[in-house]
Symmetry: C2
């Protein structure tokens, strides 16, 4: 049957000061009064009951996941002692499910993305799961691009959707010229990191492409307590690069679902637009977004094109185009010795 | 002998959220780690010992004055039940001193102005006090203007300084064309609200120009406890309009002393320039000034031309040219019912 695997291992340095070492992005209320991981699980709750939901996260965040997703059994939250990117995470989850349900179809979702048209997403997801179950083909979600984004990988197909359709090749993060060509072609989709994986096909592919990861995952499931030793020896590799790009015979489901990876505060500001949290007072401002539910009131007069991130102990002010630089400031503060802020 | 009269009755709405109803501008650390009123008294401490210092303030602020100026005897802090502008304040102080020292020369200073060249100021003040004592002439400080400011009144003289020189007339707040002409003339000074008043001359002039205020002041001194009744009946009138502009035979001491009335956050930002308080982190910013010692860290990335005012419960962000609009926001918040912020 169908299982949900939620990947929640991210660190989210670009969301400081909202995100801290102890509370990365997926555990924040960035877009609504639910956290990103809660939104991720809520969004597909009609398809996956909690007893068929698995979460892979950092060992430090297991308690936080259980707190935010109280319906998910504690044993379904796998805590990685160190992050080794997504291939080991999915492998561990797949092997854990294989022990219980070898015929399963896994839906793998990142825990920190936005989907503005969830109904459309659920419809396509049902289709993709049925298709994957029937055909045994691993099926990716390909996002219909609306801009020449250079920060994502692309999936090329032979003809435009509707899907599922055959994947021709993966294209690494392009330069802007190439990105424009791809968007114009109608035959390229953003790789969203969302996968539908028939367990048999996936496991066979993993054993072929990353046998040491498959072996590690088997040990993790067979010998509880071996996590530290196993992870220390695992390579750091993403599911895309390590498995998908070397798999062949993949399908893609083109999806126009208002997807956003919410990579920076600029994305949060774009998605939230002028929707402000409580305790904000803006007088003759333009394109100003306040992010953060806690901390002091924020009042603005005659300012424009700014993101204000509010927490009880730090207020960060930046124009959205500087959102990538937040990591740099986190580093500078570490150098200044301001560890209490990180 | 010489007495200092400090006027500390202001409300300071333009300094919200630093200033609140319970702590107006003169009691804030706006420019240094001393409050404005402390700076005012410290600056002339060499001329006026605490036992010859008098402060006139709102009744609600008497405790605050005593706390911030512990050397000044509590009986030297006169608390007005309601504000009636500066003529009644100076009249009360003058009459209070007259009972003890009828030959006194009063130096009247606002408690919330900046003087960036205090040594030059003290030198001119000693001159002015000597001159006033010898001649019996009321002597004003006239600030050598460095810009065509339309927010101040001007004092016109027959020939440029050095002073003391005769006042020809007062000019009300001018339009910008007239202000430019006056600055260019070299014969106009800003009226700074700083006065040196030989008590005999002042009292005679007050009895002539504002007899009801002179009478009220006499009652205040003779009958302690009559403050509410007396102030209820007093007219609201400034020392400039009510007395000085109708006095005649005035002298002015031109002063190039780095004076600023610190009317708004824009002035604070200009004076403080890039000097930031603690717990501020700015990365590639230009012309950004953080004001306020308490409250959260302020971090800025790639922002320019902004004033950030920090308090524990409100952070205000504005470009300096909007500093006049702070009062408007205070009114808007009152309308929203956010009284805890005011």
């Amino acid at each position: 049957v169908n299982w949900l695997v939620v990947l929640a291992g991210g660190r989210g340095e670009r969301f400081w000061p909202l995100s801290r070492q102890r509370r990365p992005k997926q555990f924040l209320r960035l877009l609504s009064d639910r956290t990103m991981i809660q939104e991720t699980v809520d969004r597909v709750a009609a398809l996956f009951p909690p007893e068929r939901t698995l979460v892979v996260t950092g060992a430090d965040y297991v308690d936080l996941v259980c707190e935010q997703l109280p319906a998910v059994p504690r044993g379904h939250v796998l805590g990685e002692p160190v992050g080794r990117n997504t291939a080991p995470s999915v492998a561990w989850a797949a092997r854990w499910i294989m022990e219980r349900d070898p015929e399963a179809v896994l839906t793998v979702l990142p825990s920190d993305h936005a989907i503005l048209r969830p109904e459309a997403f659920r419809k396509l997801l049902r289709q993709a799961v049925s298709y994957a179950a029937e055909t045994g083909r691993m099926t990716l979600f390909g996002i219909v691009p609306d801009r020449p984004e250079t920060g994502f990988g692309y999936i090329e197909v032979a003809r435009p959707g509707p899907g599922p359709i055959d994947v021709v090749r993966f294209v690494e993060k392009p330069d802007v010229v190439r990105a424009r060509e791809m968007v114009a072609s109608g035959r390229h989709y953003w790789n969203s990191g969302m996968f539908v994986l028939p367990l048999g096909t996936f496991w066979a592919t993993l054993e072929r492409t990353l046998p040491e990861v498959a072996g590690g995952a088997e040990t993790l499931v067979r010998r509880p307590g071996a996590e530290s030793a196993v992870f220390a020896a695992l390579p750091e590799v993403s599911l895309d690069v390590g498995v998908m790009e070397r798999a062949g015979h993949l399908a893609v489901m083109p999806a126009d679902i208002g997807w956003d990876d919410v990579g920076t505060f600029a994305a949060v500001a774009r998605i939230r637009a002028e929707q402000q949290p409580d305790r904000v007072h803006l007088d003759r401002t333009d394109d100003v977004v306040v992010i953060g539910e806690e901390g002091p009131w924020v009042a603005g007069i005659g300012i424009r094109h700014l993101v204000v991130v509010r927490t009880p102990d730090v207020v960060l002010i930046l124009p959205p185009e500087e959102a990538q630089e937040v990591r740099q400031v986190v580093r500078q503060l570490a150098e200044r010795g301001c560890h209490e802020l990180l």
